[in-house]
């Protein structure tokens, strides 16, 4: 765990430093009272300070050789990367092909590729979800969701 504390505290220190510099450019004071950079500046300082409380104990300890694996299971990185990519792709697709099609494809991929199941139940699940959620959100709750070139 110490290894990870080391990494995270360095990242926070850097982030704090970034905000301190950016806040200085914003200007700390305006006409004798705090300007837009005032609190960000001191918050950045505070972040660096608190990071030291994580960093120093982490430096004091000898680095553990066997640390907990970041991805608890083999293959879970692939699963995660796939899920994240599918999420981003959904956002892109939403604007081009509309809600109904992107939702169907998204649900299909999620069910099919992460937990492999048969084609038929997966297709059925994805279509029912897409249609029912469309009816619920767009027809019943009148939520504005993007329509594709086909009008749904």
């Amino acid at each position: 765990m110490k290894n990870r504390d080391l990494v995270s505290s360095i990242v926070w220190t850097a982030l704090g430093g970034l905000f301190v510099v950016a806040a200085l450019q914003q200007g700390l004071m305006r006409k004798g009272v705090p300007g837009p950079g005032f609190l960000p500046f001191f918050s950045g300082i505070a972040l660096i300070l608190f990071s030291l409380f994580v960093l120093i104990p982490a430096l004091g300890q000898r680095v553990e050789i066997v640390s907990k694996n970041f991805f608890p299971e083999r293959g879970s990185f692939r699963k995660l990367a796939f899920a994240v990519m599918a999420l981003f792709a959904y956002g892109v697709a939403l604007e081009y092909v509309g809600y109904l099609i992107s939702t169907f494809v998204f649900m299909f991929l999620m069910a099919r590729l992460i937990e492999p199941k048969g084609w038929l139940p997966v297709t059925l699940m994805a279509s029912v979800t897409a249609v029912v959620s469309y009816l619920l959100f767009v027809v019943f709750l009148e939520v504005q969701l993007p329509k594709g070139p086909f009008g749904f």
Partner: protein, 502 residues
């Protein structure tokens, strides 16, 4: 007389058929979420948030509030039957609840936790009615310096009471503040820290951040571990009504749990898990034979379950009367109100009496519904536990995606949510809890605004925070809280939240 007219208004709003239906829906979903491990109240409230845009604000809060205290009821079910807490506040219920189930007393354990929750929830609601109006009157006298002190104290409290490392909780709070600064500065109109990205020129919205950190990241975390077979304790679920002896044993624990939980609930960070842990510790200490705890002592179920419910009720007070959310769930609720153009704070009671009294009135109805949902229908919830997670998570994803999109009708919010989802995953992996981040993010603008106004009033002198007695007291308590963990460490002791991590 004024009190009676408030009570009248409370029930008038709460008993409107649509509000009653929404309250029921909230309680139903809350129980469901509470029963399912791996989906907490914060995630589910942010998932349901978009559904509330079309309804009046009081109805939205009635539904989301029902969901919140509903999870407190549902969470005990899995603790007792599976030894798996449905959510964090029910962790201690496992200790004696599961043992009771193993001794063939699952029925009374479920029964007493439902009744205890009901009593605590109802008493908590009465206390809100009595305490909130005077508190709001006090808070009305607060000026900007007092609010600076109050927000500062709130944030320190949350980090002090957080589970795990306090420096890490402080880091999270500061990061939350820093994120809240991004966007246009309200005083000067100057753009800050946006790196030229137009999407965030107006600042981040609360909804995509909360959904990302609590919804998406939870699913990602669950995806990366294989599904355990959930073994439901096979027991006959009859005899749910506790016996006379059970009542005699647990009535003291319920009373103490209610009072303790309620007052801890008012303190930022104090409700939920802390309340239930402290109640358990207190019962054990007060008991004539503490050895029976951990072996199926009914007081170890009754106390904590009452405490977490009373805490869930008490937590509404600071949000509704001062605009300070005590935990992430209340922060999201507050965000929901703000989306409706209602700013919670001392003026809420005067300007929006329907919201305040409607929510309070609905709590009576909600607690009653939850009792009915949790006792006669317990078998149904147990069956719900058999739903595999692989079937559930695509739906959580989908709800998050729709939710993030509908907040501002743009796809940028969806991307922001996904990015915060990844961030939440990484933070958990590095042992950081995102809760203080979200609270600080919500309180950030209020903090900065009051801070700068105070200094405008004082002509730039920071002494204003110390010469105003109320803000001075708040800041004094905050500094004690910030320094005491170090002092405690020197003395070889631990702060209250530090041991809660495991």
């Amino acid at each position: 007389m004024e009190f009676l007219s408030h009570v009248n208004l409370a029930f008038q709003v709460a008993l409107e058929p649509s509000n009653l239906a929404l309250c029921f829906l909230g309680c139903l979903i809350g129980t469901f979420v509470g029963v399912l491990p791996g989906l907490g109240p914060a995630a589910s409230i942010s998932l349901l948030l978009p559904l509330t845009f079309k309804i009046p604000p009081e109805s939205a809060i009635i539904m989301l509030g029902g969901l919140y205290y509903g999870t407190m009821y549902g969470g005990s079910t899995t603790s007792i039957l599976l030894n798996v807490p449905g959510e964090a506040a029910s962790v201690v219920t496992c200790l004696d609840g599961y043992q009771m189930a193993r001794n063939g007393r699952a029925g009374p354990a479920l029964g007493i936790s439902a009744f205890g929750s009901f009593i605590a929830g109802t008493v908590g609601t009465i206390m809100i009615m009595l305490l909130a109006p005077p508190l709001a009157i006090i808070a009305l006298k607060f000026g900007p310096p007092e609010f600076v002190g109050l927000v500062f104290l709130g944030l320190t409290m949350v980090t002090y009471l957080s589970s795990g490392s306090m420096p890490k909780a402080l880091i999270m709070a500061v990061v939350g503040l820093l994120i809240s600064y991004i966007g246009t500065d309200i005083v000067t109109g100057q753009e800050r820290f946006t790196m030229g990205i137009t999407t965030i020129a107006g600042g981040f919205d609360m909804v995509p951040i909360a959904m990302g950190l609590f919804g998406i990241s939870e699913v990602l975390l669950n995806l990366s571990v294989s599904e355990e077979e959930r073994e439901v304790f096979k027991t006959k679920l009859r005899d749910l009504l506790p016996t006379k002896q059970d009542w005699k044993d647990s009535s003291g624990a319920i009373t103490r749990g209610t009072v303790l939980g309620f007052f801890l609930g008012i303190i930022p960070g104090g409700g939920g898990m802390i309340a239930s842990f402290m109640s358990y510790a207190m019962e054990k200490k007060l008991s004539k034979n503490p050895d029976t705890f951990g072996k199926g002592n009914i007081r170890g179920v009754a106390g904590p379950e009452s405490a977490n419910n009373a805490g869930a009720q008490g937590a509404f007070i600071p949000m509704l009367t001062m605009g300070i959310p005590c935990n992430v769930v209340l922060a999201i609720l507050m965000g929901a109100l703000m989306i409706h153009g209602v700013t919670p704070g001392p003026r809420l009671l005067i300007e929006h009496p329907r919201i305040f009294w409607g929510v309070v009135g609905s709590m009576y109805a909600g607690n009653f519904m939850l009792l009915l949902l949790n006792l006669p229908l317990i078998g149904l919830w147990v069956r719900m536990l058999k739903i595999p997670y692989s079937l559930l998570f695509p739906f959580i994803f989908l709800f998050c995606l729709i939710g993030a999109y509908t907040v501002g009708n743009n796809v940028q919010d969806v991307y922001i949510m996904i990015i915060f989802g990844i961030l939440g995953y990484v933070l958990k992996k590095f042992d950081y809890e995102p809760a203080p981040l979200v609270l600080a993010f919500i309180l950030g603008p209020m903090f900065e605004d009051s801070f700068r106004q105070s200094l405008i009033i004082s002509g730039g002198s920071p002494m204003i925070f110390l010469t105003k007695p109320i803000s001075a007291i708040f800041l004094l308590i905050s500094s004690i809280l910030l320094i005491s963990p170090m002092a405690l460490r020197v003395m070889g002791k631990q702060r209250i939240g530090a041991g809660l991590k495991d």
